[in-house]
């Protein structure tokens, strides 16, 4: 374990701490006073904006995802499979595109919903809008881990509660819910960090609001993008986000510790769904209605954008964008590269995250969670500074091991992995917290070595959270935009860079095509999976 943690510390040090420190090192000498920057009036406003929108987003995601996950896994809810699939979808959409969907639906002057219900009914601009859209986009971050945790609860506990006379409702709230709480809370913490480090949505919805809603990320981007020595100030502001990440991760951990119960006594995890009785249909319809409003509606808006030749004009729909994007040879090339990169990054995140969780070191867990709170541009620039030139290790004055990451696809892989390591670490840690050591001990007593015992006894119990980590990372990385734009090697494309190009130069319609195509791909994959593995459903 010790060696593992040294190796992981080393990797994170090389690819995260040192680059960030180098970036900060550039600030030396220049007239940058940390406290002045942190307590600058505008930056305090931005901090307030970040705190309120991120808390809002995390609460919205938590409030929707946890009850849904409970109903889907523990009860005989009609259309549970459909709901599960629908609420995973937002992970496949770049949050920025989701934001554009909501702008076309609910901007105060000409939003489709406002045109239908009367002007001024909704105003997507401002704090509430940002929280809402980020909450919807971050929903899978809470939803998937909670599902994974719930799916492994031994239903004999619930049966015991029922036999002792508890109502189904009480059983859910008093038995099932606390058991899933650690996973749900750390999902909410991830959602908070996701919202705090997001730029696209707060910018899109914040800058137009009256008064504007500033966030730390919009300040950071302003400093970086407009040059003239803004980089050091941006890094100092990012450190504020890092501190915030530490606080949030520690809080969620200590909250989760309280209700922790070890579970999964190995075999016999068979779930008997609870009957809902008269509540069955009202609950199901509520769930479907929520999915309709939170997921399907913005998706439809994005799809509509993709067939509008002109933004916001409903006349003269055409497939022009679709044919232009799909007939572009660069699209296919970029798609393949993105899929391979995302799959590799997701595997690495899952494996390394498991490693982090296995060491059970709090410092390592915090370090693994920290990169997720750093805005993508800052992380990308730190990597540029550290690795734009080859790093050489000379052995025996004879051999040089040259780490040539600059301008190569490996740099993107490193960036994706470092940024999303939090997904793997949190999911694996929550999974491990639920695993009872008795099975492992039994294996050891029966003569298995430590590795063998781990692979045969512990690992199978971690399957659900590890798969959840893989899926979330994969979906996020395929359309990742911020890191990709700065780190892409010349002459290559990934979907993120294409999205960026289309959205800023061509038009949003063409960018919407890529988003739609990817969502369709995900839906098809889910359908295929459910067709070929009907018994695996739970």
């Amino acid at each position: 374990m010790k060696r593992l943690s040294v190796a992981l510390f080393g990797a994170l040090g090389l690819f995260f701490v040192i680059p960030l420190a180098l970036l900060l090192w550039q600030a030396r000498g220049t007239d940058v006073r940390w406290l002045d920057i942190w307590f600058d009036h505008a930056n305090l406003d931005a901090l307030a904006g970040t705190l309120t929108t991120s808390l809002g987003a995390a609460s919205i995601a938590f409030a929707i995802a946890v009850p849904l996950a409970l109903l889907i896994t523990r009860t005989a809810l009609p259309f549970a499979g459909v709901l599960r699939a629908l609420f995973t979808l937002p992970a496949a959409l770049p949050p920025f595109i989701l934001g554009m969907g909501w702008v076309s639906l609910a901007n105060p002057r000409a939003g489709l919903l406002n045109l239908a219900l009367g002007t001024g009914t909704f105003d997507i601009y401002g704090r509430f809008g940002i929280s809402f859209v980020l909450g919807c986009a971050g929903l899978p971050l809470v939803f998937l881990p909670t599902l994974a945790a719930l799916s492994r609860i031994d239903s004999s506990l619930e049966e015991a509660a029922r036999i002792s006379g508890a109502t189904p409702m009480r059983t859910l709230l008093a038995v099932s819910l606390p058991l899933a709480m650690p996973a749900a809370l750390s999902g909410a913490a991830l959602c908070f960090l996701f919202a705090a480090s997001a730029f696209g949505v707060p910018y899109l919805l914040g800058v137009t609001a009256t008064p504007p809603t500033p966030t730390l990320t919009t300040r950071i981007y302003g400093e970086i993008l407009m040059g003239q020595g803004g980089l050091p100030r941006a890094v100092v502001l990012s450190l504020e986000l890092l501190v915030l990440a530490g606080v949030v991760l520690l809080t969620s951990r200590s909250l989760a510790k309280r209700g922790q119960v070890r579970l999964s006594s190995g075999k016999g995890v068979s779930i008997r769904p609870m009957e809902l009785g008269t509540w069955k249909w009202p609950l199901s319809i509520t769930g479907l209605a929520l999915a309709l409003v939170l997921v399907v509606l913005p998706l439809l808006a994005v799809a509509l954008t993709s067939v509008q030749p002109v933004w916001g004009q409903l006349t003269g729909l055409s497939a022009k964008h679709w044919s232009a994007v799909l007939s572009n040879p660069r699209t296919i090339d970029a798609t393949l590269r993105s899929l391979v990169l995302a799959a590799s990054a997701a595997s690495l995140v899952t494996l390394l995250g498991l490693g982090v969780a296995l060491t059970r070191r709090r410092s390592l867990e915090l370090l693994a969670g920290a990169p997720y709170a750093v805005p993508g541009t800052v992380l990308a620039l730190a990597l540029v500074i550290a690795f734009s030139r080859d790093v050489r290790f000379i052995a025996f004055d004879r051999f040089a091991f040259v780490l040539a990451l600059g301008n190569s696809v490996w740099m993107l892989l490193v960036a994706y992995t470092v940024k999303h390591l939090a997904f793997g670490a949190r999911n694996a840690a929550d999974g491990l917290a639920q695993v009872d050591a008795s099975l492992n001990e039994a294996a050891r007593l029966s003569g298995a070595g430590p590795l063998r015992a781990f692979f045969d006894a512990t690992l199978p119990q971690l399957r659900a959270p590890l798969i959840a980590a893989f899926i979330v990372t994969f979906l996020t990385c395929v359309t990742e935009l911020t890191l990709s734009v700065l780190l892409i090697p010349t002459g290559r494309d990934v979907l993120g860079t294409l999205l960026f190009e289309l959205q800023s130069y061509a038009d949003p319609g063409a960018a919407a095509v890529i988003a739609c195509a990817f969502v369709i791909l995900v839906v098809v994959m889910q359908l295929v999976q459910s067709l070929f593995a009907p018994k695996e459903a739970r």
């Binding site: 910018y203 500033p214 970086i224 030749p309 002109v310 933004w311 541009t377 620039l381």
Partner: protein
């Protein structure tokens, strides 16, 4: 496990030995040969159209393009410079103030292309550190069917109450240039007047266009090239040239003094400024060429007319952007934080 990681890490490295036979060849770049790294904000389809010209003029040269928005290009370049070096040889973006700063920091190589002799003198550096190869222009756009705003100051009148979308000078370079020009002419109270008249900040140029197309605002301040491209797609917007002077944002090109391939870099700039290069830039990029023989994009003003009808651009504007830029941004965000 530690060793496993270490071995994996080393396996990820490229191995070079000190034996002479396998040393990578260096210094082989001939007069105009080798590899040229260009960081640019020129649109990809324009680069694609330029490719055959470049192939013909510089047969032995492989060009690597890093293409992104001006601001992102600058951020990457500065990070690399901070790290001690950049592969970038030629920089072609539309962020004029960066070039003036780089010139002052001694980062640019002087070169005056013979093809650039027709360029109006206000658009190139007199010392030859940088020169415009294209001109973007901030103009007014409005919805088809509505009366046109006649000037930028008209946007503060009651007729345009709550109907105006602007770019954000804090994140968009062209909007910043516009704001500096406006502040120079009208003072920073202009921003207060805009805000109290209900103008809204939209983000980048694409966002301003969206707001006007989507009926969130009836008028906006937008790049000519975005407006022309949108019109070509059938967007119901109209362009109007402000009587108080459109704001030209020169798209400079410059060679970094750290370049190892100065000859190839100069050849590239010659191609961009050649009559054919200029024609491609103007036609495909929907912006003005700096060569007066090339007609204006989309049948709009010619270069001579543009010079007449735009706010004056000179050395003092560059200085102003560098020295007063931070204050202009602060004034703007203060005015719009209400």
């Amino acid at each position: 496990v530690r060793w496993l990681f270490f071995v994996l890490f080393l396996a990820g490295c490229r191995i070079e030995t000190a034996s002479p036979g396998s040393s990578p060849s260096q210094g082989t770049s001939a007069a105009a040969g080798g590899e040229l790294w260009v960081y640019t904000s020129v649109y990809r389809h324009v680069l694609d159209a330029l490719e055959p010209e470049l192939k013909q003029a510089m047969p032995g040269v492989t060009i690597h393009w890093f293409q992104a928005g001006s601001e992102k290009v600058a951020a990457k370049l500065e990070a690399e410079l901070a790290a001690g070096g950049t592969p970038c040889d030629v920089l072609i973006t539309s962020d004029p103030f960066l070039y003036e700063r780089f010139k002052q920091e001694g980062r640019l190589l002087r070169y005056v292309s013979p093809n650039g002799l027709r360029t109006p003198s206000r658009y190139s550096d007199l010392d030859g550190h940088f020169a415009a190869v294209r001109l973007s222009t901030m103009v007014l756009v409005h919805q088809k069917g509505s009366p046109a705003p006649l000037s930028f100051t008209a946007l503060t009148t009651p007729e345009w109450k709550d109907e105006v979308a602007l770019g954000d000078p804090l994140t968009s370079g062209t909007a910043f240039t516009w704001a500096v020009s406006m502040e120079k002419t009208y003072g920073s109270t202009f921003f207060d007047q805009l805000r109290s008249n209900g103008a809204r900040v939209a983000g980048g140029n694409a966002a301003v266009l969206q707001k006007v197309e989507g009926h969130e605002a009836r008028a906006g301040v937008l790049l000519l090239e975005n407006a022309l491209a949108a019109k070509a797609k059938g967007s119901p917007i109209e362009i109007s040239w402000p009587t108080d002077g459109a704001v030209v944002v020169p798209g400079y090109a410059a060679i970094l003094s750290s370049t190892q391939h100065a000859e190839a870099a100069k050849a590239l700039i010659d191609v961009l400024l050649s009559a054919r290069g200029q024609k491609i830039i103007a036609e495909r990029g929907d912006m003005h060429a700096v060569d007066p023989r090339v007609p204006g994009p989309g049948g709009t003003l010619s270069l001579d007319e543009l010079v007449q009808r735009s706010a004056p651009w000179d050395e003092s504007m560059l200085q102003r952007g560098l020295t007063e830029g931070a204050r202009v941004k602060a004034d703007f965000s203060k005015a719009f934080s209400k």
